[in-house]
């Protein structure tokens, strides 16, 4: 009997820290003894860079382009602590179809039964932002990932992207697609950021898995081409990622989220906007009082 491989998809708006978070989770899982693969699904092909000293690897699609017959082993590259790194790759910006690229790359892997052959415990798909077309939804469809996590800050556009993803999940959930494990709240340093994300997850029937603070340690590690787990293993930030990885490893029950309608989302955001303005005014008044 082959064991069940845990397949997880991590989505998030571009630039929100999705690859950084995914790579640190992968590194922490590997450090904890799991056999892990990170599968980058972004045409930029830089998902696994910090697992490989900041270097790019040949992508699945580029390799398939060069020759008709490809063995999956050719596109799997070893990273930090023996992590299996894969980049789907894709076309240059403005040409071709990146979504079809993801379909091609994911199908190629599924056909070759490679996850079983490598005896993997966990596969993490790091997928670009909004569910922009059918191709980007492939990792959350029937038979691929089981659990989806979204990386989001308290920024409205990031929450908007998460809400869009929730729509995709709830759509595919009717036909055996992946369910939502929760939100990884990133760059949470202000108390109100935490409140905003908490309020969003409450309204959409999900949970926050971990609050990851913005940290200069992460930036310093990335500049060395490394994850925080590798570059600063004793830092507090590394422990945050370890805790997050532990939660993901033990996570079993995902749910169908209840995404907000666009008008509700706007109203909700505007309500928070008012509230934040109010907070600012109050703290301003307080400052004036102190000065007097």
């Amino acid at each position: 009997m082959s064991k069940k491989i845990k397949q997880i998809a991590i989505y998030g708006k571009g630039g929100i820290g999705k690859s950084t978070t995914t790579s640190n989770i992968t590194a922490a899982l590997s450090e904890a003894g799991y056999n892990v693969m990170q599968f980058g699904c972004d045409p930029k092909s830089d998902s696994t860079n910090t697992l490989r000293g900041g270097t790019y690897i040949p992508t699945v699609l580029d390799t398939l382009r060069e020759k008709t017959k490809v063995d999956a082993h050719e596109v799997i590259h070893k990273g930090f602590n023996g992590i299996h790194c894969v980049e789907a790759g894709g076309p240059a910006p403005g040409v071709g179809c990146a979504g079809r690229g993801i379909i091609t790359a994911v199908q190629f892997f599924k056909q070759q039964n490679i996850f079983e052959e490598l005896d993997l415990d966990v596969v993490l798909y790091d997928v670009l932002g909004d569910v922009v077309c059918g191709g980007f939804a492939v990792p959350i469809r029937e038979g691929i990932a089981e659990h989806v996590f979204t990386v989001s800050s308290a920024d409205f556009m990031s929450i908007y992207a998460s809400n869009n993803l929730f729509k995709g999940i709830s759509n595919y959930s009717k036909s055996g697609g992946a369910l939502l494990g929760g939100v990884i709240a990133n760059s949470i340093n202000q108390s109100y950021s935490k409140e905003i994300v908490d309020d969003f997850v409450r309204r959409t029937n999900t949970q926050v898995l971990e609050y990851v603070p913005r940290s200069v340690t992460v930036t310093q590690s990335e500049l060395q081409g490394k994850t925080t787990i590798e570059a600063a293993p004793d830092s507090a930030q590394a422990d945050v990622y370890r805790s997050l990885a532990k939660k993901i490893a033990s996570h079993t029950e995902s749910k169908v989220p209840t995404p907000l309608e666009v008008s509700d989302l706007r109203a909700w955001a505007s309500g928070w906007g008012q509230h934040l303005l109010e907070l600012e005014r109050q703290s301003g008044a307080l400052e004036t009082l102190v000065k007097v």
Partner: protein, 530 residues
């Protein structure tokens, strides 16, 4: 051997599994040698699974066929199933030809003559933008209401595969809702450079969703025969071994397909058609495939019968049948050889079938200087050398000097005809017979592909050739009165593969176009077999 993986809904393409090529030229013996990876063949580098053949490339392709159409010619020809083409309407254009072939096939096998039941979701601009899944759901429901089929196939097309319409989920949803197999087929045309991947796509779906997973009974006298629409020649043959025939995939019922896992063995009229299903039935359901060459020519039929008899424990019956048939056919074939002596033939058909046909023609003493096969599978899914049909041809019947792999390409065929000047050609696929006719060469259009099978097949082919040669004069007259569509420049060429070797020459042939100083953009090509 290829691991048949039915966890994935999409089948691996031929080029990925078998290293299939569509363009090559040289001697048959060279290609046979290169295709035997286990003996160190392969010229494109790599070892084992990564081993590849070199392939000729050229500056353009004149014609081909579509993966989607080949999936349709199987999944759309199951008597009590319906195929939904999840595609814009144009992808259904093959239906016209297919319906004719289907009706002929039904008539030959004695079934009620009827039309194919193939529908289209008829996707438009809006569906491309917003997704066509709702239309697909509606079509599945309509098909169910109108036809109550035993199974529904959903075929993807280029358009739906690019936008990533999730046909897999719809298939799962309606399999549960309707209680019948609803089967997604990822057969979009761009998936493979050769149409035969379409066979594999439909057979993959059948293996995943129709074949009975845990058969309660074993039918020890049942043989799966993977075929197209040919007349029923296998039943009388296998009767001599007390075996019954289960024809799949074309014109089968869903139950015929389901019971393939209960059979004692699987054979195919052509290894290129049957390779994936044979291997799948063996790996997944323990139904052994005949590991021998195909039943063409006396020697091939002998080996094939013996291999089948061994699998089904009927060796004695087989020897009786073989001896009886040899005694019957040999005098007839001797007579035919005398009448056919000196004739120069040419075979232009699909890969493994072409190898079989060449065995039959050589058996009859026909001279074969060349051939055009539409693709080449260096190995089949079993990777068993016993099934190597090209090696069987070369080892037993000698070399073919001008062995060209070319996916139709009438311009190449035209040049080859002029060079080889055969007295007749045998062909199955459309498109090339008129080219031969215009050059005064009669064609044998093997609409019933089973005519060449077995011992009787050798005799049949002999009589067919004699009959067609009586019409040679008609074609010669025709040639005097038709105008060639090719320019004088191309008509003066003697090498059908010249543009593979020197793609820049194409500019010589284009009147009024200056030859550009730079050859940028044209494909470089190795000399020789490259």
């Amino acid at each position: 051997m290829t691991k048949i993986n039915i966890n994935a809904t999409a089948v691996e393409s031929r080029e990925q599994r078998l290293g299939t090529i569509v363009s090559w030229y040289g001697k048959a013996s060279e290609l046979s040698e290169l295709s035997q990876y286990s003996k160190g063949g392969g010229c494109g580098g790599g070892r084992g699974r990564r081993c590849t053949l070199c392939e000729a490339t050229g500056p353009f392709s004149q014609a081909s066929g579509c993966t989607d159409a080949m999936a349709e010619c199987q999944a759309g020809n199951i008597r009590d199933a319906v195929l939904i083409k999840h595609a814009p309407l144009g992808c259904s254009s093959f239906q016209v030809a297919l319906n004719t072939i289907y009706r002929y096939g039904l008539a030959m096998r004695g079934y009620k003559i009827e039309n194919v039941t193939v529908t289209s979701t008829n996707l438009k601009e809006d569906d491309m933008v917003f997704g066509g899944i709702d239309k697909l759901r509606l079509t599945v429901e309509d098909v169910w209401d109108r036809y109550s089929p035993k199974a529904i196939f959903i075929g993807a097309a280029c358009a739906t595969a690019i936008i990533g319409d999730d046909i897999d989920s719809v298939a799962v949803e309606y399999s549960e809702k309707l209680g019948i197999p609803v089967i997604p087929m990822h057969c979009e045309g761009f998936r493979s450079k050769h149409w035969s991947t379409g066979f594999d796509a439909s057979q993959h779906g059948i293996l995943r969703s129709i074949v009975r997973k845990n058969p309660e009974r074993k039918q020890e006298d049942l043989v799966n025969v993977i075929s197209l629409w040919g007349s029923d020649v296998f039943t009388p043959m296998l009767k001599n071994l007390n075996l019954r025939v289960n024809y799949v995939v074309d014109m089968a019922s869903v139950e015929d397909l389901a019971q393939t896992s209960e059979a004692a063995a699987t054979v195919a009229f052509c290894n290129t058609l049957g390779t994936y299903l044979s291997e799948g039935l063996e790996q997944l359901y323990g139904v052994p495939q005949v590991r021998a060459t195909q039943p063409y020519g006396i020697k091939g039929t002998d080996e094939w019968i013996r291999a089948l008899a061994k699998l089904t424990h009927r060796e004695e019956l087989a020897e009786e049948y073989i001896a009886k048939e040899h005694a019957r056919i040999e005098p007839i074939i001797d007579g035919l050889r005398k009448q056919l002596a000196g004739l120069n033939g040419f075979v232009a058909t699909g890969s493994a079938y072409a190898h079989g046909m060449m065995c039959v023609l050589r058996e009859l003493g026909i001279v074969l200087k060349g051939s055009q096969v539409f693709h080449h599978d260096p190995i089949y899914d079993s990777e068993d050398p016993a099934q190597d049909t090209l090696a069987f041809l070369v080892d037993n019947y000698g070399d073919i000097d001008d062995f060209m792999v070319s996916v139709r390409q009438p311009y190449q065929f035209y040049t080859t005809m002029k060079k080889i000047k055969p007295d007749f050609i045998t062909i199955r696929h459309n498109g090339l017979a008129p080219v031969a006719s215009r050059l005064g060469i009669p064609a044998i259009p093997l609409g019933d592909e089973h005519q060449a099978i077995g011992y009787q097949g050798v005799i049949n082919m002999g009589y067919i050739i004699l009959a067609v040669m009586k019409r040679q004069r008609f074609h010669q007259d025709l040639a005097k009165h038709v105008k060639s569509p090719y320019s004088e420049w191309w008509a003066s060429q003697t090498d059908a593969n010249i543009l593979s070797k020197h793609p820049e020459l194409i500019w010589e042939g284009v009147a009024g176009v200056d030859i550009p100083a730079s050859k940028e953009g044209l494909h470089p090509i190795q000399e020789g077999t490259g």
